[in-house]
């Protein structure tokens, strides 16, 4: 397969402005050779889904530290599915209590990374699990 780059949308849904993690991830993905689009803070799930489709990304990385992930993350997955883009993988990170993990996976999140996860582990996960869509 020709070397098509993996395209990633790093997005911050909701109202929290704790963007340190999201920005570090965006840089790290860029350094890993992915094509990165970063939305900035305060995106609605609708804005994120539509950016993901317009930018034709392979994976969406969501970051939320406010506790609103339970609503926001599944909502992005649902909107992508509704718009026929269910093949775009959605992963997430932030302050996610253990007991919220399974419900998020059940809602269609493909991976969840919590504080302390080394950057390499994220890049490795993406390289292993995400393939540029045709």
């Amino acid at each position: 397969m020709p070397d098509k780059k993996i395209r990633v949308l790093v997005a911050k849904p909701g109202l929290d402005g704790h963007d340190r993690g999201a920005k570090v991830i965006a840089r790290c993905f860029r350094d890993a050779g992915f094509e990165v689009i970063y939305t900035g803070c305060h995106q609605t799930p609708e804005q994120i889904a539509s950016a993901a489709i317009q930018e034709d990304v392979d994976v969406v990385g969501l970051s939320c530290l406010s506790g609103a992930h339970k609503y926001l993350f599944p909502q992005v997955v649902k909107l992508l599915q509704e718009q026929g883009a269910g093949d775009i993988a959605v992963i997430g990170g932030g302050i996610i209590p253990d007991k919220d993990m399974q419900p998020l996976y059940d809602a269609g999140l493909k991976a969840i990374f919590t504080p302390g996860a080394p950057l390499d582990s994220l890049v490795a996960w993406v390289n292993e699990n995400i393939h540029p869509r045709a």
Binding site: G14, L15, D16, G17, H18, D19, R20, A22, K23, V24, A26, R27, C28, Y38, T39, G40, C41, H42, T44, S66, G67, A68, K70, Y71, L72, I95, P97, T114, P115, G116, P118, L119, D120
Partner: protein, 559 residues
């Protein structure tokens, strides 16, 4: 600072010591080649008289209450009064937070500090589609003065000072506080407290955003003017480095950007409001982070006092000593805590709090061990508060003022932080000021460089976080997690709708129209805000006026 003799003695003894070091290191190398602060500032193996020989005791050090206030503003230090034990709290509904406040005051806390939820912080009501899932999660939800009165129920507003971490809607929330005081029968010239009200650091770091930078600064200058004239005991801005640091800045960046933000506000109030610097500068307050690198933090706080005094005296020609005082609150570093082995956070917080105290803070929040995971539980808050009480009343560190002064290392590090901060400050001056620098993305990019570098150092094991990249254990620690139930949202929305149903909607519309007019004419918005909140206008209704008149600012997503 030293006589020629002392310097000669030091030089010859130092030479001997260096030779010894060389011998030892030749046999067994140091544990690592470079020793740096958490901010990557290189630290020497030892400091001596030569490192501070150019200091002038009178000009650079002096005594507390004396220019340049390096050693503190007050001549009596902590003997007259300990720092204020001020724990940041807010959760769920106004009633729940009020209950927590009464608990904290009973436990020995001496001032209140309010955490609002994200919709309130961003100027949206609880029923806004943008607020979905966020209501009451990270703080208390406030929509109208009805909620606010519940929040301060039973709190004597003429005795307890309250700090409110609120930025874009600061005018509306402050108006609610002032109106609530009036309703309690306390005249507004008697109430004391703080609104954070520092938008520049929002653009730089914390990202609760509403209007573009220039309009945001205008609203802040309105509050400064109003406070100066009518609420003289209120700190109308808490110029904050805390969030800048949490976003990944180094200690020097925190110091420089915060103080340059402060200078921007001073310049704006003088230019826009025509006030004399001494009329308003005494009420400017600051807020710093106490991170894990002990000496670096102490040096940063000492340097902050000296830089501010110099800037106020030399740049702005302030004459009142109170204008030269940097008064600040400190919070221990949330970003230094780990979700792994969370009880270790108690130790980190204690060390950081001690740095804050040795740095001479006037007010302190200590993080709870569970803050990485959730809102703090009562038990965790109590340990955090006890940490301060132990430092104050058991350790003896408050016995004497600025106990580390005169240390070769501390003074040299203080000087170095100051020099490096001025370099940044002058660079920002050259860009045309902080608003311009923010528009250019300068501080944002400096911080994101630093935070990315730090993360890579952690991943490479060059910087250590116990439990993250060293001494990792698999054992699960059970921490009781506080969770805000989704019913908070439904109940809050019901309360909001009830208030909207009962209020005189025609009067609300008139008040909001008047506010819009004031914005367009460039008048001070505060009197109009107070009228609007008394009529039960919501936080969002007031903020929508600002967004309408001044335009809405969106995060450009610079990384």
């Amino acid at each position: 600072m030293f006589t020629e003799d002392v310097l000669n003695q030091s030089s010859s003894l130092r030479k001997k010591w260096e030779d010894e070091v060389k011998k030892v290191v030749a046999k067994s190398a140091d544990q690592k080649p470079e020793w740096t602060t958490v901010s990557d500032l290189p630290i020497k193996r030892i400091y001596g008289p030569e490192d501070i020989k150019d200091m002038d005791f009178e000009k650079d050090i002096a005594y507390p209450g004396q220019y340049p206030y390096l050693r503190g503003n007050q001549p009596t230090g902590y003997r007259g009064k300990y720092w204020t034990f001020r724990m940041f709290s807010g959760m769920g509904s106004a009633a729940e937070t009020n209950e927590r406040w009464h608990y904290l005051l009973k436990t020995g806390q001496t001032g209140l500090s309010t955490a609002f939820d994200f919709p309130t912080l961003m100027g949206y009501d609880s029923d806004s589609p943008k607020a979905k899932g966020e209501c009451g999660k990270c703080g208390v939800a406030i929509d109208t003065i009805d909620d606010f009165q519940t929040l301060v129920k039973g709190i004597p507003l003429d005795k307890i000072t309250t700090s409110m971490t609120i930025n874009p809607p600061a005018t509306a929330i402050w108006a609610m506080y002032l109106a609530s005081a009036e309703i309690q029968g306390v005249p507004i010239n008697k109430v004391g407290g703080t609104i954070q009200n520092d938008m520049l650091k929002e653009f730089i770091a914390q990202k609760t955003l509403m209007c573009p930078p220039d309009a945001s600064v205008k609203l802040i200058s309105d509050t400064v003017e109003f406070g100066t004239k009518f609420v003289p005991r209120w700190n109308t801005i808490s110029i904050s480095g805390y969030h800048i640091r949490e976003a990944g800045a180094t200690a020097v960046q925190e110091l420089a950007f915060t103080l340059r933000d402060g200078m921007e506000y001073v310049e704006d109030v003088i230019r826009r409001k025509g006030l004399d610097v001494d009329e308003f500068a005494p009420r400017l307050s600051f807020f710093f982070n106490a991170h894990i690198d002990f000496f670096e933090e102490i040096a940063k706080m000492r340097a902050a006092r000296r830089i501010w005094a110099k800037a106020m005296k030399e740049r702005y020609k302030a004459k009142d000593p109170r204008s030269l005082w940097m008064r600040f609150h400190t919070q221990t570093a949330g970003c230094s805590l780990t979700a792994q082995q969370p009880y270790n956070n108690v130790i980190r917080t204690a060390v950081e709090a001690l740095a804050g105290v040795l740095g001479g803070t006037q007010s302190l929040h200590t993080n709870s061990l569970d803050e990485v995971l959730c809102l703090p539980s009562d038990h965790a808050v109590q340990i955090a508060l006890r940490t301060q009480q132990i430092i104050a009343e058991e350790t003896g560190v408050a016995n004497t003022i600025d106990p580390l002064a005169g240390s070769y290392f501390i003074e040299a590090l203080t000087n170095e932080m100051e020099e490096k901060a001025w370099e940044y400050i002058h660079k920002i001056d050259d860009m045309g000021g902080m608003v311009k620098a923010i528009e250019n993305g300068f501080p944002q990019l400096e911080i994101s460089d630093a935070s990315y570098r730090y993360q890579k150092q952690i991943d490479a094991g060059e910087k250590i976080m116990i439990g993250i990249n060293k001494y990792i254990t698999d054992e699960e620690v059970e921490i009781p997690l506080i969770e805000i139930d989704d019913s908070v949202e439904t109940e809050q929305i019901a309360r909001l709708h009830e208030v909207k149903r009962k209020r005189d909607n025609r009067h609300v519309t008139e008040c909001l129209k008047d506010l819009a007019q004031a914005c367009k004419k460039g008048e001070n918005v505060m009197p109009f805000c107070i009228e609007a909140v008394k009529a039960y206008s919501t936080v969002q209704e007031i903020c929508d006026v600002y967004r309408e008149v001044y335009g809405e600012y969106r995060d450009p997503g610079i990384y």
